[in-house]
């Protein structure tokens, strides 16, 4: 996990590859294409790229119009604007009529860093996953981003994908392999990265690599944790999540998101009906944050491997 890469770079590259073979792919941006990397597609396929200026509501609604004519539309901005500025539009003309728009947002979460709390989007997963017909995906690294974007093209219907700003450690090997074993990325499934009978750590996005580190640290204390990468927040892999809860008897969730309404809440909603076990959610504790380097922010707001370790020790003690 030494190499780090930008998930948005993987997005930009994947779009170009996909664009070569599929003329139906249209890409839209709202004046952030250099940051979201959709500009790369724009350079390659200028006829199929539209920059809408700083007007997210218009962009998302026009994406819906294009999709109504059979286009596969990727629309990008920062997470805060993609979801916050165009929420009603995505809800009403994308989600409700089930149109084939992929809203792929970079700069999700706290790791936006120095731009501060106005730009840090820590609530996008909550607000997008409550929308009917809507799929919500958060890749854990650049390699998973590439396969997730490919899967998007095959997936009909409204989808929100959150990417980040900073480089994050590569978890997977080339071609989406985990410890030499090639995997298939399937929207709606999760990936069990480690097995362990004492507790299940379920993480998404950049917290997945921290969960893996935490699991290694816990092993030294004799706690065997499974680690599950929940790359699809909706629909949630209920089968695997319930099985992991049943087999381990305790769950820790980890997300770069407010603890209200995101991954932890989604998993709690499932387990409360299927197999309730002691559970702790690692995430941002219902607050706006502040400016700072991503690394320092993640420490201050409790999103590190050590935070996962202490939550895990606590939850294991509560096991019946």
């Amino acid at each position: 996990m030494d190499t780090e890469m930008l998930t948005r770079d993987a997005y930009g590259k994947a779009l170009i590859e996909l664009g070569k073979n599929n003329e139906n792919i249209i890409v839209l941006d709202s004046d952030l294409s250099l940051s979201t990397r959709t500009a790369w597609f724009g350079r390659e396929f200028p006829d199929r790229f539209f920059n809408f200026g700083i007007a997210e509501a218009n962009m998302v609604s026009a994406a819906a119009g294009l999709a109504s004519c059979g286009k596969i539309v990727f629309a990008s901005s920062f997470a805060m604007f993609a979801t916050g500025r165009a929420y009603n539009q995505f809800r009403t003309v994308v989600a409700y009529p089930k149109l084939n728009v992929k809203l792929v947002a970079s700069h999700g979460g706290l790791s936006v860093g120095e731009d501060g709390p106005t730009h840090q989007c820590i609530e996008d997963l909550a607000i997008m996953r409550v929308l009917p017909h809507t799929t919500v995906v958060v890749p854990a690294d650049a390699i998973e981003t590439e396969v997730a974007i490919r899967a998007c093209v095959e997936h009909m219907g409204p989808l929100y994908m959150r990417l980040g700003r900073p480089a994050v450690p590569l978890i997977y090997g080339k071609g989406y392999a985990w410890r030499e074993t090639p995997l298939n990325f399937r929207i709606g499934e999760s990936v069990t990265l480690m097995d362990g009978e004492d507790v299940a750590i379920m993480a998404t996005g950049l917290m997945v690599s921290k969960a893996l580190t935490a699991a290694d640290m816990l092993l030294k204390d004799g706690i065997k944790a499974s680690v599950i990468n929940v790359h699809t927040i909706k629909p949630l892999d209920e089968r695997v999540i319930t099985r992991a809860a049943r087999e381990s008897g305790a769950v820790v969730t980890a997300e770069e998101h407010t603890i209200l309404g995101g991954l932890g809440s989604a998993i709690a909603e499932v387990l409360i009906e299927s197999y309730p076990v002691p559970m702790i959610k690692v995430g941002i504790n219902d607050s706006f944050c502040e400016s700072g380097s991503p690394e320092k922010l993640l420490i201050k707001y409790g999103l590190t491997a050590s935070n996962i370790v202490s939550a895990t020790k606590k939850v294991v003690k509560r096991k019946k």
Partner: protein
């Protein structure tokens, strides 16, 4: 329809009715047997609350039986309170949250241009709806992208839910606003069939810039006690007054 439904927006439906009739019976190309025909002209009713007029036109055009009209707003009907493109044959866009339709139409227009299709998109906006900032985002973008396969039509009835537009949020100078955003502006009497049809034909011929028809209309048009009455924005005519309203409307038809 709205009287039977017990709710709905008759005032803005009547102001839009002549234009919708012109589009569906004298101007647009579509196939009621194949409502998703790729080459059809599209109509986006951005002021989705005026859908009773659109539903009536679609039924008359043969997209679904006229009896269906009496199920408007009822549980299980294909005719919701606002248009649903997944449920109702002939509806090209789900609308009703104001300010979105012009952007949606812009997307259709871009797709048509990319696919070298000959179809045209017609987007009807309310004048009150022009309060929404997104309309102007779309207006700016349509002229930036040199869209000329889309015609916007403003149903300029001068009223919105809370009162006269001039009192709630002034729009004037409206023609100048559109023109400043790069649009070719046509102004007509939105209840004069010849003027409507001439403007639609003229708009089709504008090249490299989007045309907008500002249609001066009367809210509640054709029913003396409804005309220019804000009361009828979101309330149907009572059972007692219905016959009088319908008689006046049929007399209007004969004129």
């Amino acid at each position: 329809m709205t009287t039977k439904a017990g709710s709905g927006h008759p005032g803005g439906s009547l102001s839009a009715a002549d234009i919708i009739a012109a589009l569906y019976f004298h101007h647009m190309r579509y196939d009621p047997k194949n409502s998703k025909w790729e080459d059809r002209d599209r109509f986006v009713l951005s002021k989705g609350h005026a859908c009773p007029s659109l539903y009536a036109a679609l039924a008359k055009a043969g997209f679904f039986p006229e009896e269906t009209l009496w199920t408007l707003r009822k549980l299980g009907s294909i005719l919701d309170g606002h248009p649903d493109m997944t449920k109702t044959p002939g509806i090209d866009a789900s609308t009703g949250n104001l300010g979105i339709g012009l952007s949606f139409g812009l997307g259709i227009a871009l797709a048509g241009r990319l696919d070298r299709k000959k179809y045209r998109v017609y987007v009807m906006l309310g004048d009150g709806e022009l309060n929404e900032g997104q309309v102007w985002e779309a207006a700016m973008a349509a002229s930036h992208f040199k869209i000329d396969n889309l015609t916007a039509i403003v149903d300029n009835n001068g009223m919105q839910l809370d009162g006269f537009t001039r009192d709630i949020m002034s729009l004037e100078p409206l023609a100048e606003k559109w023109s400043a955003f790069g649009w070719h502006v046509l102004e007509i009497d939105g209840h004069n069939m010849k003027e409507i049809l001439d403007a639609l034909d003229a708009a089709d011929k504008i090249k490299s810039k989007p045309p907008v028809i500002i249609a001066h209309t009367i809210k509640g048009k054709g029913v003396s006690f409804m005309e220019n009455q804000v009361y009828y924005h979101g309330k149907p005519v009572s059972e007692e007054s219905l016959e009088r309203a319908l008689t006046e409307l049929s007399a209007e038809n004969l004129r």
